[in-house]
Subunit: 325 residues, 2 copies
């Protein structure tokens, strides 16, 4: 796939590279071809009442959803000041102390993705929420029934579910529990300065961020990282151009055993990526600039210059929730 | 708008630039964001009967539409073997021997544009067709009435117009004449290999053409040259970054006398551009590669390498009508 064209240059060079100011209008026109601003409301949230969202939030924070009352959803998907829907660990310890094998992705804006989990095996937030509760190395509840029984013993939940599902004789079902959690998660939309830019505020990005955006488009990071989340819509092979060092987890292949699925993972959405270190499915890449440089090489066979890495990393910083910047 | 970053490099360098094969699928995905393949039928052509088209063609080729029976539409917009809807002259002599001041644009695919003429002053083919017939330095008919009277004296036209407009007592009107010409022009759609590429045939472009397309997108020629015609949709300032040498014709400004319209011209559509030399509104640029190099500098402040110019020029060649390649 490669050929080398070599020139021997013996010379004394004064290299003066003209550095043009970015033409912001042109850049915006270009960006609009690839990206969409955050919607005002997440699809599916139209019928989420305040009661449902509140109950979902309570469940999201409730450690009793784990086998030994040690872990809630929020344990790994942290939302307190300073966190962006992740725990910033490479992999997260579960209720029984054993660590998972994949990095916890952020819950922020998660419902805007086409699929969830690193291998895209859940179609939506509701299906996703079922996973960790029942996963033996996460919250480790043995089965749906156990979850239902445990919550049915709690008067507060009996009252709240009854209020939301007045027509149902037994409203505390596993399905209804995850429906509430999903309703809460649908509120987790985070507007960024990049949205302001996409909506016409040319001053919302700094010059270096604009340069980064320009390069991000030019070198075709946007082939995968496009749309409203700059990712999250497709499954792609990690190491399409150059193989990734860690081949222990083969991604979608682990599910399908189809050769074509080897090292195929969901394209990570990039909103709030500055706050969600470490990176990659295995959490082995600590710094964002490392991740940028590596992705350039693995996916595009581009040897990004230090300057390009700095600029792209700056651009990615503009995707951060304005309330968390 | 520029700053210089200078580094003194004293060294012996062996520069080995890896030249990657173009990833055709990625390139197609990217191209699809900017371009559309040629439609099967031109908008407005749905009701063009064979009779209308045939009559329009006859009128398009009829020199009696000029004051001294010396010029037809086709005189400047040549369609015979070896021509692509232009006469390949810098500017065209009119019926009275005087030359116009702007280069004749091609009629091929012309109706797909948002507007016509170099200053975009006609909204559609019908309005455009009225112009040259009555323009004193083109076909130079004195007024609409003269055109009507001249054609009404010709039995063949009386019969044909009567057949197409049976309900009209006097079907030979100036409006009906240009309606017929437009009907003929709506048939002038030219499919190219680039359309095959856009429709998924990755082998339709050669490697060098693909490189040219890649660069054409990367350096943002597509800011103006996009859509189905790679242009023809907007008015833009010629010399947005660096002024064009010839400032005699100020484009839209000549009509509006608005400062903001100085040097604003319609963005040229690029289909068949390999066959429509010379270039620019004044026809002063003889070769396509010169035009490419110059546009890079004038519009984008890019100093294209010879290699880039060759590749982009090769790509533009893929926009040529397959029957004319």
């Amino acid at each position: 796939m490669k050929r080398l064209s070599c020139n021997l240059m013996v010379s004394v060079l004064v290299v003066c590279t003209p550095v043009h100011a970015v033409d912001s209008e042109r850049l915006l026109a270009r960006a609009e071809r690839y990206f969409d601003p955050l919607p005002e409301i997440m699809q599916g949230a139209e019928n989420d009442s305040a009661e449902r969202i509140e109950l979902g939030k309570q469940l999201f924070f409730d450690k009793r959803l784990s086998i030994n009352d040690s872990q809630a959803c929020v344990t790994c998907h942290r939302l307190e000041q300073g966190y962006a829907g992740v725990d910033n660990l490479a992999v997260s310890p579960g209720a029984k102390g054993k660590a998972g094998s994949r990095n916890s992705p952020t819950v922020l804006n998660a419902g805007l993705q086409a699929s969830l989990f690193w291998d895209g095996r859940a179609d939506n937030l509701v299906e996703q929420a079922k996973g960790p509760i029942l996963n033996d190395i996460e919250m480790a509840m043995p089965d749906e029934k156990s979850v239902e029984n445990k919550l049915r013993d709690i008067k507060e939940y009996r009252d709240k579910f009854a209020q939301i599902y007045p027509a149902e004789a037994q409203p505390i079902t596993f399905q209804n529990v995850v429906e509430m959690i999903a309703a809460f998660e649908r509120t987790l939309l985070t507007k960024s300065r990049f949205d302001d830019f996409l909506q016409g505020d040319l001053s919302a990005l700094s010059e270096i961020e604009k340069r980064g955006l320009e390069t991000f488009i030019k070198i075709d990071c946007v082939y995968c990282h496009d749309g409203v989340l700059l990712g999250g819509q497709a499954l792609e092979q990690l190491g399409a151009e150059n193989a990734y060092d860690n081949q222990a987890d083969q991604g979608v292949y682990e599910l399908t055993k189809d050769e074509a699925d080897k090292m195929v993972f969901k394209v990570s959405p990039l909103r709030n990526v500055s706050l969600t270190s470490p990176y990659f499915h295995d959490g082995k890449i600590e710094k964002l600039d490392q991740a940028v440089k590596l992705m350039g090489k693995l996916q595009l066979d581009e040897d990004l210059t230090e300057q390009q890495v700095v600029e792209i990393t700056a651009f990615l910083n503009s995707l951060t929730d304005k309330t968390r910047e």
